[in-house]
Symmetry: C2
Subunit: 340 residues, 2 copies
């Protein structure tokens, strides 16, 4: 009997690997929170060396969907957004089985870092492939979006743009690649400023930020940010990229600081690094961003690399050095998809 | 001859002492930069233990106005704003002599701390008194304002409000006391985060901030801040004071962060203290503000005092512990004013 239980058909199992992404023009605020539909487009790049690898198995012997991360079983009540992805796959395929996912982050950093993008992207890709569901990249991006908005951007490769879309069902809200990883081979440093989990979730913080008197202006400014960032990237214009990243990040943090009650995502070390990069960016080709948290991500051109690397070591914090990364890959496709 | 030079008539010499002030609803931005006329009202309190004492002597044997601070002669080209005060006194009195001022800050902190308010308030009061000019408190506040806007608020005692005024000549732009120092005997801690001079002057920063997309909203919000702060003070409502101070300070720093190029006034330690006080303020009666710089000023009620003092010591930074302070005092009035 135990043999039967573990004799899972090959075609209902798949493994996918996705990269974390860092936004140049950030996603912030939802026009529909059930479907993770944003107010405006966002632009990001994948980080080659921050990955989540997830294996999904559709299994009729289990009563419930389940997820483990790095060997730890995730409490069922926190599966909510994953369940939306799995229910969508069930309704598209007619499958009635439960899905068991085991996920592994390679992040050498602790979990403070945004793992939800790579996590949901890998989970969506693995679960869809295991179910034999053939999806276009856009469809897969839309599916991953149901887990976490930013996961939509971890599906395509390199520099990606998530189109907010207009449709109420979100079917046109997905990310596309605007340039491959080798289009602009910048150095990426992800600096771990904060080890702990965030004190407020991104979803809650997004909601709370709408209480800021600056919200209407933020919304109007951020809605233009994706175009500006995309142009900077396509033209490999580092000065424009710097302006895009700094402006967009600081407008978001300013928004958070002025909501009620105020949210200050900065840690002391975030400010040390931010101040340093703001100064350095006047002389060399380096820039940075902070997501809704304390960690800082630094980008630089080859010419600035020796100085930047030296400075980053001097900050005395754990960091990952990387490059612009690829899109999601499915490593063990079921047989009927292997002809692709 | 040397005897003659030093035989200065008593009635042309006076000494005044003024306190630094900390804004609850900040002055930021000038509708007229020659006259230091603000866009909106501001509210502050004087700090009892941060003072400038200035002696002014009108002397016909000197060719030029001169100022020394703590024994150091100030370069003539930086006297610009003091000269406006002295020229105003000359035109009001018909005096043609030069004014020699020697000023002493008692600040146990280095000069990073805003000494311009107490400095110009003491200089204006001393120079006017030495010239035998009898001015009302409002007129003296207006005169000090010509040196530095915030100096207007160091003339009246305790909690003060600077009325922006409407007139083009600025004659109705002066501060008045809204409550005496003993109205609400809060503890004041001025924590020195940054030792060095500021990297950008307040006047320049005010100008640059108008490039932020948040400027119109800031202007509209900050214009309501003085009323809100004054009500909190008059009602001794600490929760409202906390909201007033935090909101007003964070809106200003958010504005600065989003101007072009961005200005980040925070030092790493500012964030450590700010985060700590934001958290603590949910449980005890403590709040803080940061002016356009890295230093943090903490206010607390008697009940919170032991905890706050303990926390502030733990920050490991130099600090001044004080109370709400009085207005400017003229310690050696010329004889013809002594009958007042």
């Amino acid at each position: 009997m135990s043999d039967t239980q573990h004799n899972i058909p090959n075609e209902l199992k798949a493994t996918a690997k996705a990269h974390a992404n860092i936004a140049v023009a950030k996603y912030w605020g939802k026009r529909n929170s059930d479907l993770n539909l944003p107010f405006f487009d966002s632009v990001s790049f994948n980080v080659e060396d921050l990955t989540t690898e997830t294996t999904a198995v559709w299994n009729e012997d289990d009563f419930r969907d389940a997820l483990s991360i790095n060997g730890w079983q995730v409490p069922e009540h926190t599966l909510g957004r994953l369940t939306r992805i799995l229910n969508t796959i069930r309704s598209l395929t007619g499958i009635t089985k439960r899905c068991i996912l085991s996920s592994k982050n390679n992040f050498p950093l602790s979990t403070g870092l945004a793992s939800s993008a790579s996590g949901y992207a890998a989970a969506a890709a693995a679960a869809a492939a295991a179910a034999g569901l053939e999806l276009s990249e856009s469809e897969l991006s839309s599916l991953a979006r149901l887990g976490s908005g930013s996961a939509a951007r971890s599906i395509p490769a390199g520099w990606t743009r998530w189109h907010a879309g207009n449709l109420e069902d979100g079917s046109d809200s997905h990310a596309v690649s605007i340039a491959p990883p080798d289009h602009w081979p910048l150095h990426v440093f992800v600096i771990q400023v904060s080890e702990g989990p965030k004190s407020i979730s991104s979803s809650e913080a997004m909601q709370q930020c709408q209480s800021s008197p600056y919200w209407p202006t933020y919304l109007q400014q951020a809605s233009q940010a994706a175009d500006f960032a995309q142009n900077a990237i396509l033209q490999r214009d580092f000065a424009a990229l710097t302006e895009a990243m700094h402006t967009n990040a600081l407008q978001l943090h300013a928004l958070a600081m002025t909501c009620n009650p105020p949210i200050c995502f900065f840690a002391p070390k975030s400010i040390e690094i931010l101040q340093h990069i703001l100064r350095a960016s006047r002389g060399i080709q380096v820039c940075c961003t902070l997501d809704a948290g304390a960690n800082v991500v630094v980008l630089c051109e080859e010419t600035a690399y020796p100085f930047v690397k030296n400075d980053i070591i001097a900050f005395g914090l754990p960091f990952v050095q990387s490059r612009i990364g690829g899109g999601v890959t499915v490593q063990a496709k079921p047989p009927h998809l292997s002809s692709e």
